[in-house]
């Protein structure tokens, strides 16, 4: 907490409370304590006072209670030689300021001095004051009808939030640029205050900017005291939409912190009163961004992130005022935690999941990247917030136009992501989305991942104007739309320049390698949380997938990291964290938390589940499994048949017949549906003897996973193990299987009996 800010806020509030007291004393003397006090068209009295104190102000006399309370919140100035955390005192002062400011506006209404007259100003929609007979005026507080109408848009997300501009911008041009930027982003704009007598309202009026309800720009007043109106609006939002009652001050503030995305832009020099009012806003969780040099208050928890940020206008790197305004608003949005929403993917070809399956044949191809004749790779990495410029898309190197028809070139897609909830572990999860995102464009084909990426652009797409830069547009739009919960900002480099390509490829490979090792280190023992997947309950109502670091989902599509990310993105979705709880059986993998969850999520059908056994309470399966593992009692082992394998198996059944037994959400000891990468896990049926139990396996698996299995064989201490496993080219019945196993000396024959 800044001692400087604390000092100035406390001083500001002390002064304002004293001013309010004097004003009220005079008003009561002049007009009497019974003189009515009311804001127009609201059922919430003086809303901040009502919300915070449950105190209904109807008369001047009623204001005495408000100010008495405000006085209790005042503190002496911090001493020069004593340093303490001033946060509490500052927030108290902020609240005292708000109560005093609202009292002053109340007195002004009693005198008919509010709303402030502003001759020549015609508002485009405003609270009506018939008594003013058409004289130009500022808006004063927002009435309840408008509150509900805007409130609905704020609550349903059509309006991201509101900004309170206090003071005067660097120039008229800057004022207009800021307001236009806010309008562009659908952010409601409230105007108040002045700097050295000039208000942002004056600036906009001079520039002919239309203000009023209809333009979402509301001029409240030309002094800082009128900044109470935006906070009255916020208070009433909590009462109206949060179902809160007057007096639940803490809940009202928390509601605003988490649900009302508002921030203050302090324009021009910040005086004591502005500091005091900003302190009041901080209590609501609304940060202040100043366009002058002031001390910053970094995160301490009252607002979501930083509390006070300084962005001196002249130091913002930009060519134009518009660009400066855009950067300032962008920063404010980040500080407040407002999310960008993008609904359309701006590419010159049709876009949608309908195009995911398209194939671009060589004859129809404009160009390709990767494959036989060139190398393409994709790499997504996490970067610090201040190193990512959201939406920046660069093409570095020669473009598509330098390529002959049907030609090929090296390509790198490098995406740098920053996000407050981003984690390094999510990098591969997000990187895998490139495939789906890019395939969604009509006429583009994407195959592979990492450094075996292979992309083709069709002639038709190129003719419509599809260019390399559009890969960036696609990724930008889709990451914001689908992963907004963890991605705050991203910038994209599309690299064709050979040197830079080589440089990034080296970095990417290092990262791939690191991720591989990270995955290998990620063991079930090393974490205390597994994740559920109940995506498939729509057709297998009692099926509960439990995904652990060493046992990925049976469909192969979700590993532990995917589930973790999925939960961050969609906390109410099908992937929920399961606390492992007490380990009840290390060997078979019984965990108290897993049992409890499985019982709950299967509606009592599955009472217990083992993570590492096929013989006892094995995990259920829906029907999406990549492979089926089934016990072959005669061989004292198990066989694994893959979905791609249509042949007969030693179990006497084909994959599709076996699927009927393994699926449906029923626990069937002896048979289990799994993801193929689970086969390589050290925890693969480890309670029953592990990988060495595999006596038969579809040749498809042997071929496509040869590299992985080789490593497993070495881990198991039997480098020739894979060759000892039969497949459908060797035998498809038990007799043949036994003969083969005998002939090669398969270890399962001499292992402990499974039965």
């Amino acid at each position: 907490m800044s001692r400087y800010i604390a000092t100035r806020a406390i001083r500001g509030s002390n002064a304002l409370v004293a001013e309010a007291e004097a004003l009220l004393k005079q008003a009561v003397e002049e007009k009497g304590a019974d003189t009515p006090v009311a804001f127009p068209n609201t059922a919430y009295f003086l809303p901040v006072t009502f919300g915070m104190l449950a105190h209904e102000v109807n008369t001047l006399g009623d204001l005495e209670f408000s100010l008495a309370h405000a006085k209790k919140l005042l503190h002496p100035l911090p001493e020069d030689n004593l340093w303490v955390p001033y946060l509490g005192e500052t927030l108290d002062s902020g609240m005292a300021t708000l109560l005093a400011a609202e009292a002053i506006e109340g007195v002004r209404f009693a005198y008919g001095e509010e709303p402030t007259l502003y001759p020549g100003l015609e508002l485009a929609g405003s609270t009506s004051y018939p008594q003013l007979n058409g004289t130009g005026h500022l808006n004063g507080p927002i009435d309840d009808i408008q509150l509900r109408s805007w409130g609905i848009q704020l609550v349903d997300g059509r309006m991201p939030g509101f900004a309170a501009l206090v003071g005067a911008a660097h120039s008229n041009e800057a004022a207009v640029a800021i307001v236009r930027e806010l309008q562009r982003r659908n952010i409601l704009t409230f105007l108040c205050g002045n700097t050295n007598g000039r208000s942002v309202i004056d600036q906009l009026h001079e520039e002919g900017v239309e203000m009023g309800y209809d333009t979402y720009i509301v001029p409240f007043g030309t002094d800082t005291i009128s900044a109470i109106y935006p906070l009255g609006f916020a208070t009433r939002s909590a009462l109206t939409f949060g179902g809160l009652k007057a007096g639940q001050w803490r809940d009202i503030l928390i509601y605003n912190k988490f649900r009302v995305f508002a921030f203050v832009l302090a324009l021009g020099e910040v005086d004591d009163l502005k500091y005091a009012a900003a302190a009041g806003a901080i209590s609501y969780g609304f940060p202040t961004i100043a366009d002058t040099v002031i001390p910053e208050i970094l995160p301490t928890g009252v607002t979501r992130y930083e509390h006070v940020i300084s962005m001196p206008w002249n130091e913002i790197e930009a060519e134009t005022e518009e660009e400066r305004a855009a950067k300032m608003v962008q920063r404010a949005i980040e500080v407040r935690g407002v999310k960008v929403k993008i609904t359309e993917v701006p590419v010159p070809v049709a876009y949608g999941s309908a195009f995911e399956g398209e194939v671009v044949r060589r004859a129809d191809m404009r160009a390709e990247f990767g494959g036989k004749n060139s190398r393409a790779f994709e790499y997504l990495l996490m970067a610090p917030m201040d190193e990512v410029e959201d939406g920046k898309i660069e093409l570095i190197g020669p473009g598509l136009d330098t390529l002959d028809e049907g030609g090929s070139m090296d390509l790198a897609l490098v995406v740098e992501v920053a996000g407050r909830k981003m984690q390094e572990d999510f990098e591969p999860v997000l990187e895998r989305q490139f495939h789906y995102f890019i395939n969604g464009a009509s006429g583009i084909q994407h195959i592979g991942q990492r450094d075996i990426t292979w992309i083709r652009i069709s002639k038709a797409a190129a003719e419509k104007g599809f260019d390399l830069k559009h890969f960036g547009d696609i990724l930008y739009a889709r990451f914001h739309a689908d992963f907004g919960a963890i991605v705050d900002k991203l910038q994209i480099k599309i690299i064709t320049d050979p040197d830079l390509h080589a440089e990034w490829l080296a970095k990417a490979r290092e990262a791939y390698d690191f991720r591989n090792r990270r995955l290998a280190d990620l063991t079930d023992d090393a974490v205390d949380t597994f994740y559920s997947c109940i995506l498939c309950q729509s057709f297998a109502p009692t099926h509960v997938c439990v995904v652990s670091p060493q046992r990925l989902g049976l469909c192969g599509a979700y590993n532990w990291l995917d589930c973790k990310a999925s939960y961050e993105i969609n906390p109410t979705g099908p992937n929920q964290p399961i606390q492992k709880g007490q380990c009840l059986d290390d060997d078979k993998g019984y965990f108290a938390g897993v049992n409890e969850y499985a019982k709950m999520a299967s509606q009592g059908t599955v009472e217990e589940v083992t993570m590492y056994s096929i013989m006892e309470n094995p995990m259920t399966a829906c029907g999406c499994f990549e492979c089926i593992v089934m016990v072959i009692p005669e061989a004292n082992g198990v066989m694994v048949v893959s979905r791609e394998d249509p042949s007969m198996t030693p179990a006497g059944m084909t994959f599709s017949t076996l699927a009927g037994i393994a699926g449906g959400g029923l626990q069937t000891p002896g048979i289990m549906g799994v993801g193929k990468f689970y086969l390589t896990s050290p925890k693969f049926v480890s309670a029953d003897g592990g990988f060495k139990r595999i006596v038969w396996m579809s040749s498809f698996l042997k071929e496509t996973m040869a590299e992985e299995f080789k490593q497993v064989a070495e881990r198991e201490g039997d480098p020739d193990l894979i060759a000892k496993i039969a497949d459908e080219t060797i035998c498809t019945d038990v007799e043949g299987l036994l003969a083969y196993l005998e002939s090669v000396g398969h270890p399962a024959l001499t292992m402990d009996m499974m039965f």
Binding site: S353, F355, V359, G652, I671, F755
Partner: protein, 448 residues
């Protein structure tokens, strides 16, 4: 406690003789555990194993068979309280009651109408199961004549309803070669009625006013040598019937309470004022645990509604109704009308067909054999892939009926587009909406 497939396997001969029809003993054991196979299919199972397996496998609700000259109905063997837990296995018998006080000609006409009734529903022909003949006259000869008259016009199963053993015996004498259900043994008449049932090997309804009395009575009748019983708990009101039938099913399933482990019979017409109320009450008994439902009123409309309901409730939730694969014409399509493909899961078919129908746009709906799975499930299971869709296109001869070569596939399987273009050279594959509800909008934009 049910045994798992592995536990059952240990009790089997483990010879893989394949005589049961399954390739291995383990496969057979898993089918047994899933109650999809009968132990009797194994010729070599030991007596000891049989005893152990039978004890574990004995159905909590006894399977009771009632046979007419040409039809039989089996009721019972239920294992769950709610169909989503597994499935309901044996549909309740729907019977129509006639009284012997009605002139014979009218009886015959009524029976002919009800038993001659059949209706097509998703490719199945549905009908009622039999006739309950009540000796309302109390006169043996009249009863016998009525039973004989019924059997002249139907070969369905019978329920004979009479107050005493003598009447029942006379009625039975007219039913040679059949196995009717006798109604009913009570605390007063159970000895002679049970003796009759035993002698004629007939299933027998037991009626008692309380569950306590009912349990005593079934034990006595069992002692007298009758195994096949059906229970009438003598409640008729809608609320009481629901409660009592639920309690009986729970006792059988959860407590494995053998004295009450039998199918249940209801008479919804007795408390209904007319046909519509009776059908509504009967709907409860179909959903909630009725085994034999005796109706007093019949019209084609009410029979259709009840039969459809019964088919719905007794659909295996894990093995949904399929519709016939092939070409379905909607709104009288022309050669230029759009061709869409979907799976043969009935709900998928209905959603798609309804939306096309509702859109008013004529269209050809190609239903591919996806083993009764919905689009996404079938796709995930490899039952709705490019190969199968292409096969459906080629085998149905749709090419001769339409003037274009455009096929709309469900949006959820857009990934099949490339493969399909390979499988169906010369065809243009269009990706339709993901959900059926968006089809109308999609079709409006169609121009072939």
């Amino acid at each position: 406690m049910a045994l798992t497939g592995l536990q059952i396997y240990k009790l089997l001969p483990q010879t893989n003789c394949k005589e049961c029809g399954y390739p291995t003993c383990l496969a057979f054991a898993m089918k047994l555990a899933a109650k999809q196979a009968e132990l009797a299919d194994c010729p070599y199972v030991s007596e000891e194993a049989k005893a152990q397996l039978a004890a574990a496998a004995a159905p909590p609700v006894r399977l009771v068979t009632v046979e007419g000259p040409g039809h039989k109905i089996e009721v019972g063997n239920e294992t769950v309280l709610f169909r989503h837990e597994k499935t309901f296995f044996h549909q309740p018998g729907l019977f129509v009651r006639v009284k012997d006080t009605t002139p014979v000609a009218e009886i015959k006409a009524a029976v002919e109408a009800a038993m001659g009734y059949a209706v097509e529903y998703v490719g199945m022909s549905l009908h009622l199961d039999g006739v309950a003949v009540e000796a309302a006259s109390g006169d043996a000869a009249t009863f016998k004549a009525a039973v004989a008259a019924v059997l002249e016009v139907t070969d369905r199963a019978l329920i004979l309803m009479a107050a005493d053993a003598a009447l029942l015996e006379t009625g039975l004498s007219a039913t040679n070669g059949t196995r009717p259900l006798l109604y009913a043994a009570t605390a007063e008449n159970w000895e002679p009625v049970a003796a009759l049932a035993k002698a004629k090997n007939s299933p027998l309804v037991v009626r008692a006013d309380s569950l306590d009395e009912m349990a005593e009575l079934t034990e006595k009748i069992k002692g007298a040598g009758v195994q096949d019983m059906v229970l009438d708990p003598a409640v008729r009101g809608l609320a009481d019937t629901l409660v009592t039938l639920t309690q009986l099913r729970r006792l059988a399933l959860k407590k494995n309470f053998r004295p009450l482990g039998f199918p249940l019979i209801t008479f919804p017409g007795e408390v209904a004022e007319d046909l519509l109320d009776e059908a509504a009450f009967a709907s409860q008994h179909i959903a909630k645990y009725g085994g034999f439902i005796v109706l007093d009123r019949f019209t084609p409309a009410s029979a259709y509604a009840l039969l459809a309901l019964r088919a719905n409730i007794y659909t295996n939730p894990q093995e949904p109704i399929k519709v016939q694969p092939g070409i379905y014409e909607i709104n009288d399509p022309k050669p230029a009308s759009p061709l869409m493909v979907t799976t043969n899961f009935s709900i998928t078919y209905f959603s798609v067909a309804n939306e096309v129908d509702g859109s008013g746009v004529p269209g050809w709906l190609l239903v591919a054999d996806a083993e009764g799975m919905s689009v996404l499930t079938a796709w995930a299971a490899g039952k709705f892939d490019a190969e199968r869709i292409a096969k459906a296109v080629k085998s149905t001869g749709i090419e001769d009926k339409i003037s274009h070569k455009k096929l709309v596939i469900p949006g959820h399987v857009s990934v099949l587009l490339g493969e399909l273009e390979e499988e169906l050279p010369g065809w243009e594959i269009l990706v339709g909406p993901r959900e059926a509800v968006d089809l109308a909008g999609f079709l409006k934009l169609w121009n072939a």
